[in-house]
């Protein structure tokens, strides 16, 4: 490794560092909490306004809470409470789901989200 190699690697490291500054922020800023229920109903809650909403599910009510630009499933009448343990969602694309009750909470921001995932 000579002097020029070091110069080139240093430039590369700078570029990578810049990518962290430019792109590594808190992800997309969400503006809406999108709830879908077992009945196929879609409910949009603006994250700008604090609110709670209780939805009916197969096992009982599921409660979604919006507070200070974040959202969570605060309570749900399901056996395992995985949705509640998912905690607060704050970045666009994050989601919490109560599968037994059929309630899905997802934060929506700007940007194309045509697919959830793709296997190559």
């Amino acid at each position: 490794v000579n002097r020029w190699d070091l110069v080139i690697v240093a430039l590369c490291a700078l570029a990578v560092g810049a990518s962290w500054r430019l792109l590594g922020g808190p992800g997309g800023v969400p503006h809406t909490a999108l709830i879908t229920t077992r009945a196929g109903e879609r409910i949009e809650l603006a994250l700008a306004r604090d609110t709670t909403r209780t939805l009916p599910g197969r096992h009982g009510p599921t409660t979604v809470e919006v507070l200070a630009g974040r959202a969570r499933i605060s309570d749900s009448a399901c056996p395992q409470k995985l949705c509640v343990r998912a905690g607060w969602l704050s970045a666009a694309g994050e989601s919490a789901a109560c599968l037994p009750n059929g309630v899905v909470l997802r934060l929506v921001g700007d940007g194309d989200e045509a697919y959830d995932a793709l296997s190559l």
């Binding site: 490794v1 020029w4 190699d5 080139i8 590369c12 940007g111 989200e113 793709l118 190559l120």
Partner: protein, 181 residues
């Protein structure tokens, strides 16, 4: 034994054989690596690029281009991913890294060693793949969020590839005089 009139096609034949051998080696490394599980999708060491680097630094850009493109084509045929999204990603990365290798070669020539070539080429490779993924089939917001992490890994693997190429080059015997262009 010295030949008075070596046949004109012999160096060309030798070049073909050399390219085929290096491409085959790179295909093997590529396929073995594809079988390795990685913690993050889209991330792998890219050790087949060591072969490209060695060819570039010892025999020049044209040979490196041939080996790299052959490797991507043959590995995709052998691995069953020809014309799949994964193949397009691999091809985009291969072309971008060749472009970066050519640029470094033009700008620095012999002054840049294997590591100086490999690090920017790895970044170009990863950037091209991320760009294709974002424009084509993944949510751009998600790709941008992952980009710094993947670029950091690419830089690390690029430096590693460069060091490996350096080690290989140091062990190769000096080139015989008739092989020089």
């Amino acid at each position: 034994m010295k030949r008075m009139t070596p046949s004109a096609s012999e160096p060309e034949l030798r070049r073909d054989a050399r390219l085929a051998a290096f491409a085959a080696l790179a295909v093997c490394i590529h396929l073995l690596e594809a079988a390795l599980p990685m913690p993050v999708p889209g991330l792998k060491p890219g050790l087949a690029n060591v072969v490209t680097l060695v060819v570039l630094l010892r025999w020049g850009l044209a040979d490196a281009v041939a080996v790299q493109l052959l490797r991507v084509l043959v590995a995709s045929l052998a691995g069953g991913s020809f014309l799949s999204p994964g193949f397009v990603l691999a091809l985009a990365g291969a072309i971008a890294s060749l472009g970066m290798l050519a640029l470094v070669h033009l700008l620095f020539g012999r002054r840049a060693g294997p590591v100086g070539h490999a690090a920017p080429a790895a970044l170009a490779h990863m950037s091209a793949q991320l760009a294709v993924a974002a424009l084509w089939f993944l949510p751009p917001a998600g790709v941008l969020r992952l980009a710094p992490l993947l670029l950091t890994a690419a830089l690390g693997f690029g430096i590693l590839s460069g060091m490996l190429a350096h080690a290989v080059l140091a062990r190769l015997p000096p080139r015989p005089p008739e092989a020089r262009p």
